[in-house]
Amino acid sequence: MTDNDVLLSIRDLSVTFHTDEGLVRAVNNVSYDVCEGKTLAVVGESGCGKSVTALSVLRLIPDPPGKIAGGQILFRGTDLVTADEKYMQSIRGNEIAMIFQEPMTSLNPVYTVGEQIVEAIELHQDKKGSAAWNHAVEMLRQVGIADPEQRAIEYPHQMSGGMRQRIIIAMSLSCDPSLIIADEPTTALDVTIQAQILELLRDLQKKNNMSVVLITHDLGVVAENADDVVVMYASRIVETGTVADIFDDPLHPYTRGLLRSLPKVGVEQNRLDVIGGTVPDPLAFPDGCKFHPRCPIGNDDQRCMSIEPELRQIKPGRCSACWYTPGYETKEEFELYEKKYGKHKEISG
């Protein structure tokens, strides 16, 4: 990976929300790169900050209460955090488009779908009137909607969930963006429709050489669609790597736990492995590693309970944030912490 391949680069991003109960640090020092034409999957459970990171890229965080507290978001070298609103407007839709989870609520019920796509086209491109309309119909055809001329004059409630999601995709692709951020694009859909939509996204991505940030909690979807993977837990990245790395050789105990807790098709298991406990409350994150109360290794290790491990590169393209990842600690740290907190535990498996 060379630097000029990188389309979007998020550097040390932190986002906070001021709430009545206190300051919520939704995203903490998150960094990742999205390369041209590739798919990056961001995996994590609800509340881990994966969507907030994505919304920050388009500066769609409601401010107040939200605030980008630090870091940079470099899109083709320009920092979107400090860019003015006019520049952002030229980026949104044109360069970076977003697909949301809920195909039911992200379309306006009182306009026909054609009008809604035309709105996006007229706002971002030089096309007006019938040229824009024809473009909208062409987009509907591209996403595999039968009889697009007729469908364009119909309303969202006349369509099924899968069709609405296709319309959202048509809308986000209408201005030919170079990056698509898809936030749980298929979570609300049936498996057969999910397969259709993901295949459509893959085809369009190849055809238009787009980059995709795929935000999901479904590890199956990740395995089948992603090139690179970022695993988030409680506002931070805990592990990054290529999709093969993550599934073949997960480094972080959270990633391992997630992979093990899935029921496997065609494999007989008496009980599922579980990660005990629940996701911590963002108002009261635990000290040390945020995963330690649920971690099978770190739950009684002084090191994990006291010092939060930062994300470090273990080998090229492979990062982890765990004291127990082989090669994570420097020699000095090892000696210092061994004196202070005792020996590392033996781990098996």
């Binding site: 057969t192 397969a195 089948e224 029921p263 007989e268 009980r271 629940t278």
Partner: protein, 337 residues
């Protein structure tokens, strides 16, 4: 085979049709055939998984069995008694034995009631326990589902999704039922929480000898938890067999498409899948013949004309399929598995 097994639930020819009303005088202009002739039996202490896409009628089956929705036709026998003929007083008693766990742990708990009242409400309604007795019983139930008794004075909003689902399970267990309908009970939960709840449901089944009707759209979860699986399409069962057999040897083209659509968590096996075109047709106006034929990759002329009934397939396993052409699949493996 029939005589050696003890069936708790026996559903026969169940039909639930909803009238479509139009105009000033609410004239009935048609019917949504949500459930259209469904039959199955569930052995006591076992789990039947019911899978299908949204709109196929799986939820309606669950609710009709519990008589929360009135059936149009058919018969449900529960522990030897016919559910649909019971007078309301008898039905109340029977309801103690049948409970429901809902999908959405957010909207299925009353936000203005404490956990103690949510879990204990049915104990009061059915005059089983009151006062200190009820409190003790609620504490026991909370412990059983992995919560602690001091949670009982709290309100639902103070809990996470997984904990709320545990509260919902405790509520279902309050009357010591024999049969629980789990309607997408784990679908809304995070991955790490989902496996906790599945294990809990299995433990409870082992300890209390519960019988489950497990309704879900996630085939991996259904395979894991079920003994038998019924696949529904457009109000009808298209395939029924043991969960092991179904995953080894799916015969109906719809089942095969569903199986191949499951995203597998293995990046090295990006498979050629059978991607079904189109969507589930409207149950108010189902296609002629086999309801699956417009999307079926192997449909022929006969499939558009008449529907094949559920038929036992050759082989040792109990495996029934409603397809004219399923025998042609037998040598072809499911895409990628």
């Amino acid at each position: 085979m029939e005589s050696t097994k003890k069936y708790l639930v026996d559903v026969e020819g169940l039909k639930t049709h909803f009238p479509i009303k139009r105009g000033l005088f609410s004239r009935v202009v048609g019917h949504v055939k949500a459930v259209d002739g469904v039959s199955f039996k569930i052995e006591a202490g076992k789990t039947l998984g019911l899978v299908g896409e949204s709109g196929c009628g799986k939820t309606t089956v669950g609710r009709t069995i519990l008589r929360l929705i009135n059936a149009t036709e058919g018969k449900v026998t529960f522990g030897g008694r016919e559910v649909f003929d019971l007078p309301s007083r008898e039905l109340r008693k029977l309801r103690c034995d049948m409970q429901l766990i809902f999908q959405d742990p957010y909207s299925s708990l009353n936000p203005r009631m404490t956990v103690a009242n949510i879990v204990g409400e049915s104990l009061t309604t059915h005059k089983i326990a009151a006062g200190r007795d009820r409190r003790r019983k609620v504490d026991e139930l909370l412990e059983r589902v992995g919560l602690s008794p001091h949670h009982s004075s709290r309100y639902p909003h103070e809990f996470s999704g997984g904990q709320r689902q545990r509260i919902g399970i405790a509520r279902a267990l309050a009357l010591s039922p024999k049969f629980i309908v789990c309607d997408e009970a784990v679908s809304a939960l995070d991955v790490s929480i989902q496996s906790q709840i599945i294990n809990l449901l299995q433990d409870l089944q082992d300890e209390m000898g519960l019988t489950y009707l497990f309704i879900a759209h996630d085939l991996a979860v259904v395979e894991h938890i079920s003994d038998y699986v019924a696949v529904m399409y457009l109000g009808k069962i298209v395939e029924y067999t043991s969960s092991k057999e179904l995953y080894k040897n799916p015969l109906h083209p719809y089942t095969r498409a569903l199986m191949s659509a499951i995203p597998r968590p293995d990046p090295h096996r990006r498979q050629q899948r059978i991607v079904l075109g189109g969507e589930v047709p409207s149950p108010s106006n189902p296609p002629s013949g086999c309801p699956f034929h417009p999307r079926c990759p192997i449909a022929e002329h006969r499939c558009t004309m008449e529907i094949q009934q559920l038929k036992q397939q050759d082989g040792p396993a109990e495996h029934i399929v409603a397809c004219w052409k399923c025998s042609e699949w037998k040598s072809v493996p499911v895409g990628g598995t």
